[in-house]
Symmetry: C2
Subunit: 340 residues, 2 copies
DNA sequence: ATGAAAGCGCTAACAC
DNA sequence: GTGTTAGCGCTTTCAT
């Protein structure tokens, strides 16, 4: 291939200077319509393609924003990424993706990588391993916006977007109570990410408000996987005091619950099952799975909006950014439909 | 925040020149161990963070590779992205993501955007709308590697990674025949992307080899969605000549098939149902769904390997790159298990 | 409305 | 083993 054409080539071709070319290309202030047109024409003729790297070096803006997530394979994150990219693209931003795979070590490297790439900001959700959050502080030290979504952390003050997780747990439990279930178990996981704790608290609050003291042995902490749901259910069904409904920490856990029940000849809603996340299969399995929708698409869009809002302020003052709290949505389906 | 520290600051601090600093930082050839150590030390002390943008401008390499896919929300692509990022990261590459959302227009913009960002190469899978592929040629014109995966196109000669789709269709059909099904229908979609046509051809070949002439009315072309599967199944069940097994164009279509059958009081494997893609729910629904695994993770990894292989050649000669064809994997599960 | 020139932070010859 | 210097392609004052 021939050497790449630069604004110098355009300038030479038209006997003008690069500054004029640059102005024409960026459609800046006082450019005569005629030169603008001719620049654009020769740019096209010479097959010119702007070099964003060069422009970034001078302007200090890359129009790239870093997305740091546990894994693109987790559908919730895939959906957030999808929405983020789709929305930010329309404002001229591209997405640089980094997956932590739930590793703190990788998360640290990710922040460094994104920062070295000179991203204009970072939108992140924490790994399960993360306890110390000091690596996130570096983003702010560089004066770049940092937005945390879904998996927030007590120690990190940052603009954030999440759903009301306590209410999500409450909502799931309340729904089961409404359907007449009384002996409600909960399969979740244990760690410092707030959301799981908050949901669990919502579960306990709903029970208490219904005058039902939470049964300790009905709270099982395990893995958030199909296998985890399966194992947890076996444990629960081995109790003298068997539950009549089980809340799964997410929809995969719920799948495991259904599987374990099925092997015992039980089909929901005989024992009620509800999950979290509204995975795309949940609506379509038989029986269809009740779940709490976490509004991934909306969350992605809200993150993008928040980023744009922060970036257009100067100087960057993140303090006046109000956190966005989305409302969890109860999707009541067959797996909990005891009453008509 | 203070002004960013550059290699000039390190140089000044140590009374050496930037070239020495640069060499030390990049661990180049003949650097005395002592200066290297002191440079690294002061770099750390001054909180130095390399500016990849600046380095890219001189070196011509960004260590960023562009990923262009229809949508990160389609699980297959999410898995490929996951594998790609995970693998390439270990070689120092970052991922710039662009979604076409199945739009040709967007695909063209995507190629332009990625090229302007000076990516070192592009790994792409085509949108369903794509017929003319000239925008992809621009990548090669810039002398950058272009790898196509899964959704290839007759008109575009490029290194590629895919599964043997004809065989995938054959495999699914053969499996149903093995299970004693004889009247096998196929719900798919129609367009210029090769893979769907090839799978369909595999289906026809399997039937012919079994001495069963394909029934035209058993080939239904619709949307590759749950709704498409549902509608197609209703159409098929309205025929005098009802099928005894249905192949879904993907696992979502299969979900729609099962749903429609369920409403008629039929549960697989009474009528056999098999899908494509091995979505993560397929194993866990009841009855578990037979499917053809497309090896998304492996495909991502193979793309990454191919990219690295191409990039380390000089000059870039993509002609000698043998396409990688992965073998589709039959996952025979309950939805087709007629025989013991 | 356009030109001249400095410089963004780094790399890579080429010297010594 | 280290210094000097010229860019990479673009933006952006400051002139005119």
């Amino acid at each position: 291939m021939a050497k790449k054409t630069t604004i110098y080539d355009i300038a030479k071709e038209l006997n003008i200077t690069v500054s004029t070319v640059s102005r024409a290309l960026n459609n800046i202030s006082t450019i005569s319509e005629s030169t603008r047109a001719s620049v654009l024409a020769t740019a096209k003729k010479l097959n010119y393609r702007p070099n964003k790297i060069a422009s970034s070096l001078t302007s200090g803006k890359t129009y790239i924003i870093g997305i740091l997530v546990p894994s693109a394979q987790i559908q919730f994150f895939a959906s957030v990424i999808h929405a983020l990219e789709k929305y930010l693209k329309s404002f001229g931003y591209s997405i640089l993706l980094y997956q932590t795979n739930e590793s703190l070590e990788s998360e640290k490297n990710g922040i460094a990588t994104l920062l070295e790439a000179q991203v204009d900001g970072i939108i992140a959700s924490m790994s399960l391993e993360t306890q110390d959050v000091s690596h996130f502080e570096k983003v702010k030290e560089e004066g770049k916006p940092l937005i945390i979504f879904d998996r927030t952390h007590d120690d990190l003050q940052s603009p954030n977007v999440k759903i009301d997780d306590e209410y999500a747990g409450y909502l799931a439990t309340q729904h089961l109570l409404d359907q007449g279930y009384r002996n409600i178990a909960y399969l979740t996981t244990r760690h410092s990410i707030k959301i799981f704790r908050e949901r669990f608290e919502g579960y306990q609050r709903a029970l208490r408000e219904a005058g039902i003291p939470p049964t300790p042995e009905h709270a099982v902490f395990g893995e958030l996987t199909v296998e985890g749901g399966y194992a947890g259910t076996q444990q629960l069904m081995g109790l003298k005091n068997q539950p009549d409904a089980i809340i799964g920490g997410d929809d995969y856990v719920a799948l495991g619950i259904i599987k374990a029940l099925h092997e015992k000849g039980i089909t929901p809603p005989e024992i009620g099952v509800i999950g979290f996340a509204n995975q795309n299969f949940s609506e379509h399995i038989i029986p269809s799975l009740s779940t709490i929708d976490q509004q991934a698409i909306k969350m992605g869009k809200e993150c993008a909006k928040m980023f744009l809002k922060i970036i257009e302020q100067s100087p960057l003052a993140e303090n006046n950014i109000t956190p966005v709290v989305l409302e969890p949505l109860l999707l009541a389906r067959a797996s909990t439909r005891r009453k008509q």
